[in-house]
Amino acid sequence: MGEKFEVGIDELFVVNVARTMRDRTTVFHGVSSPIPMVAMYYAKLTHAKDMVYFGGVSSAVDPNPPFFPPTTNDWVMIQGRTAMVTVDKIFDLAQRGELDRSFFSGAQIDKYGNQNVSMIGSPDRCKVKLPGGAGGCNLSGDCVNYTIWTTRHRAQKKGDRKFFTLVNKCDFVTNVGHVTPYGRREELDLVGNGPDWVVTELGVFDFDELTKTMRLRYLYPDTTVNDVLDSTEFEPIIHPNVGVMEMPTREEIEIIRRIDPLGIRKLEYPEQELARRFQI
């Protein structure tokens, strides 16, 4: 009480992702998703106790993993479960419009929320082969909504060039946002409603109803609107009431530290970001 308590960006980020989840909904995380893994379990232990929590490709229902491993398909992730299903049944839920939320990232993300997880370059001239979207192409079409996250919003300067993650145009659209290269979601008869939140290490965004483009909603205590604009190739909408996000409590942060003793939530950051600390 009254003591200072330090929180890392990694912990605050987990809370931001967790806040996009609601109780009594169904949620699933894909591969290469350490932050959503921790955030989902955290949400289940805090504000979303009756959330149906599918623990990744291992497809346990409501697991209670003793810790989080740095991979999504390990027996750790089926411990303490209520039931097992097979992973195809989770995709069925999504096709039926009954998977409420999933989590996707990308090496490139455009203002409509399209993401590239496949390649820099083109299929014929692939400069960098990225891992691939796993279930993202289907689930980004089918999920009721989904959360985009990236820990690499901050643009990288190399010489006099700047490299963006939030780009004007994806080289390749793996996961579909609101307006795809092939038309708007409604024109495509997709099942789901697309991304509704984007969590980055610089801020939290939703999407403008009219233009279906990213809109800045919350900043971190140590970031500004200019930081965001500097690191975003397109110009995001700035919400008129943009302000600093609500800080979590010490108890909430302690839950995160307890459930993730290996610190897999820290694996996705450029090293300098992890130095960011916040007092609560």
Partner: protein, 310 residues
């Protein structure tokens, strides 16, 4: 698919691998860091197989190793990486970026639906997602139509029928009954959708024990069985062993350095020069290693330690 009624399907790893032909469409079982048939892939590399067309969902060590071993011509997986554990897959990247491997990247549920079409014996499945994604560029075989029931746009994805599935199971009997412990990932689908099913098994058990236990897969779906203890290493095969992070770390160092380094420092050491399962175990650390990887059972602390080696 395929019905196999032989009473004794036990063959050697060499025999089993030799039935896989250059250019075959191959489904590799397991996923990411779990229960992948790596011993079989090592044998395919030793035999110099070429131009395999690999299909599946989210994978890691297996596909990267196979690309590094030169046996792959096309990859139709949905994801290949070492996740945030070790990051991008170096051999896979190199093979894609140099054009050695054709990129046929697909999406998990599309693959599942295509395998279901094959399993169900129907020509295609209708789907609503895929639309809007550039992945459709990589799959000119997909067709579009208006759903005659709802008037909405749908995509028809054709049946995907691998020539062979290679699966690492916890237990098999010689008749071909299998016990696979969950998560199955796509293994059960692969088995039912593929023309031939080659199984490497951590343990061969008696038919009595298998039947008592209740097979996951009945014998007639299995073409051949190989006795392959430690056959998924360095991926995990619980409850026998967790994945070998130390070994994968060593693997990554040479793989990242380049094709030659990978050949000289990894393939020569662990593949070309090491033909038997016993020699391989010895090479990767012998019983000390095996016991360490089995120590996950001893509790949370020991289990956590296994994710910090390397």
């Amino acid at each position: 698919m395929g019905i196999y009624t032989e009473r004794d399907k036990l063959v050697t790893m060499e025999e089993a691998a030799s039935t896989i032909r250059d250019g075959d469409v191959v489904a590799i079982g397991g996923g990411l860091c779990m229960r992948e048939p790596i011993a079989m892939l090592r044998e395919l590399v030793r035999q110099g197989r070429r131009n395999l067309h690999i299909v599946g969902t989210a994978h890691g060590f297996d596909v990267d190793f196979a690309c590094g071993g030169g046996i792959v011509g096309a990859v139709e997986e949905t994801h290949v990486s070492f996740e945030q554990d070790f990051g991008l897959a170096p051999n896979y990247r190199r093979a894609c970026e140099t054009g050695q491997v054709r990129i046929k990247e697909n999406c998990c549920n599309t693959v599942i639906m295509q395998l279901r079409a094959s399993e169900f014996g129907v020509p295609f499945m209708p789907m609503r997602s895929i639309k809007g994604s550039d992945e459709i560029k990589l799959h000119p075989e997909f067709k579009s139509m208006i759903d005659p029931f709802t008037g909405k746009k749908i995509v028809l994805v054709p049946a995907l029928t691998p020539d062979v599935a290679i699966i690492h199971a916890q237990k098999a009997d010689i008749h071909g009954n299998l016990k696979i412990l969950p998560p199955y990932v796509a293994d059960v689908l692969f088995i039912r959708a593929s023309k031939r099913v080659i199984v490497t098994a951590e343990e061969i058990v008696s038919e009595e024990e298998m039947i008592e236990d209740g097979p996951t897969i009945p014998y007639y779906e299995t073409t051949a069985v190989v006795d392959a203890p430690f056959g998924a290493h360095p991926t995990s095969c619980y409850p026998y062993y967790a994945y070998d992070r130390e070994h994968i770390s060593e693997y990554m160092k040479s793989a990242k350095e380049g094709a030659d380094a990978f050949k000289n420092r990894y393939l020569d050491k662990y593949v070309y020069g090491v033909k038997s399962a016993e020699k391989y175990l010895e090479k990767v650390g012998g019983n000390v290693k095996r016991e360490r990887l089995a120590s996950w059972k001893e509790g949370r602390e020991r289990w956590m330690e296994l994710f910090t080696y390397g």
